[in-house]
Symmetry: C2
């Protein structure tokens, strides 16, 4: 993902600071999951290998840095670790829902140890995320986290409800991904700002930044599931079609195709013929249309950054936003 | 379950108070789960039908009443609803783990709507439990809840780790059920007392009461899974053997049988021959031995009640403890 983690090789002082803070976040994450039961520890070591982009922790820290009157402190680091833990839990449970076998180029927990272990390990991650969040000692942060995860689960449940619904409309698709993906990304940005003592206008604007970014991120994820290369993306692909999940390019195509083309596309979907379907989505311009929506959401997100003072943290947030729709994995 | 909810038909003032408080707890529970997404609401209505004994909320309220300098307040009611919600989440996820089809005489969520919906619905219940708990505004309660659920998940993970382990020993069995069942029951008693302003000695004693009670409760549950009548118990039985979970009567029998009887029992376990196995557990006295352990744990629990002043709340706690090993469902 060119750009998204550009700071990982940069010598800028802010990049150096972010690297140090992310290492501290990882240490909090690992310490939280240490159990006195060896069987549990082995599973947690496996999940730690899922850690990749660290998008959510990075957003907590960067929004804290960009908006803050106060310095980055333990509250930011803990919220960053909590957000990553919630994200890990959704990966583990999503892989059960999607029958996925590969994640970050390794076997998924469900593939390796069975669905039952994956269900319980996901629960353990959720539980530890809330426990860790409680160590901050600020009930309003716990409340905000609970609201975010309630919304996230609602998004997943509504998505399941619409499996194999070939008349899923755009509004419902956006409602689902706003809840299941963007609520957590937006929450990371809002809480990062709030923990730095930002005023309401700044934390709201950064929350809106994250919400648009999260929706764009999910559109890009759905595009990669359709047209990505497994060896580049590093996880099982084509799961959306296999599981009867309609995503934006398909919804756009079905809405805009003539009656015959529409019927043919529906047949390809029902027969799970991913290659034939992808060709139609490309030829009809539906893939490009979905990508344009993502780019336009990234532009919406970037406009929210006007609330911030100029500086390297704002520049990095802007670069991250652009990288979200540029990435190939 | 004779006795356990005896107060449901009693005219005693304390029974009347408990009934009113439990109705308030149910209202909090239902209000918390109300979603603006209809698909989510339908699922929650299904889960509300699982509510049965209300053992955990009753313990929060009774321990609050028995130990308290302060009256029962909103904190008790919220913690009671939170405990029931966590319990419901474990039922929904356990039914996925156990492939169970019947619960409270109705279809399980996994049976009715598939494993995926059951996984996500369980997550939604966990998330809502933490969110609801955060409304109390006391970080120490959130922290205590997180510790309880971490322990609970560890118990489930260790149990899964030992599936089909025919050399599972008693110590490990007790460690598993202490974590997966008794930690929450003990937590309900301890928090109920703490919310009433009980001093450390009283809340510790009630925590120990709940811990012993929870272990006894699980032994009785495991006995019912072996020898209960489905039409009385109201849920899928024989799941432990089918899923390779060794429980106390089997562990006792394998430890005490001579070499030939032991080999024969192991063969019955591997072939999942529940009737033949049950006959041996009865004949060898292993069922009675397990029941004795449960009764002895209830006696341990009752001794902890000595810390309380005489009164109707203490009497009810004692009656509940006795009913835990008396119940046939």
């Amino acid at each position: 993902m060119s750009g998204l983690l550009e700071f990982s090789i940069s010598d800028d002082p802010i990049a150096q600071q972010l690297r140090a803070e992310l290492a501290a976040v990882e240490a909090i994450f690992d310490r939280q999951l240490a159990s006195d039961m060896p069987a549990v520890n082995g599973l947690c070591r496996h999940v730690e290998r899922y850690r990749g982009k660290m998008l959510r922790p990075t957003l907590v820290l960067l929004c804290g840095l960009a908006s803050g009157r106060r310095r980055i402190d333990q509250g930011h680091r803990v919220v960053a670790a909590v957000a990553e833990m919630i994200h890990m839990a959704t990966l583990v449970h999503d892989d059960v829902l999607d029958d996925a076998q590969v994640r970050r180029r390794g076997a998924t927990v469900n593939q390796l140890r069975g669905n039952e272990v994956a269900v319980m390990l996901g629960d353990y991650l959720i539980s530890n995320a809330f426990h860790l969040c409680s160590t901050i000692g600020d009930p309003s942060i716990n409340l905000a986290l609970g609201e975010i995860t309630n919304t996230l689960c609602e998004g997943e449940l509504v998505q399941l409800h619409h499996r194999d619904n070939l008349s899923l409309d755009e509004a419902t698709y956006f409602e689902i991904i706003r809840r299941k993906t963007a609520s957590l990304v937006g929450g990371c940005c809002r809480l990062g700002a709030r923990l730095s003592g930002a005023d309401e206008a700044v934390s709201s604007a950064l929350g809106a930044f994250g919400l648009s970014l999260g929706v764009a991120f999910q559109i890009q994820d759905d595009l990669l599931d359709l047209e990505g290369k497994p060896e580049v993306v590093g996880k099982s692909l084509g799961r959306d079609l296999d599981k009867g999940k309609l995503t934006l390019p398909i919804i756009v195509h079905l809405a805009e195709a003539g009656p015959d083309a529409r019927l043919e596309a529906l047949e390809l979907i029902e027969r799970r013929e991913s290659e034939g379907l992808l060709q139609r989505l490309v030829d009809s311009g539906a893939i490009d249309a979905a990508r344009s929506r993502a780019v336009s959401l990234v532009n919406d997100a970037k406009m929210q950054l006007a609330v911030l003072v100029d500086g390297p943290a704002r520049d990095l947030l802007q670069a991250m936003a652009e990288a979200v729709v540029d990435r190939d994995h």
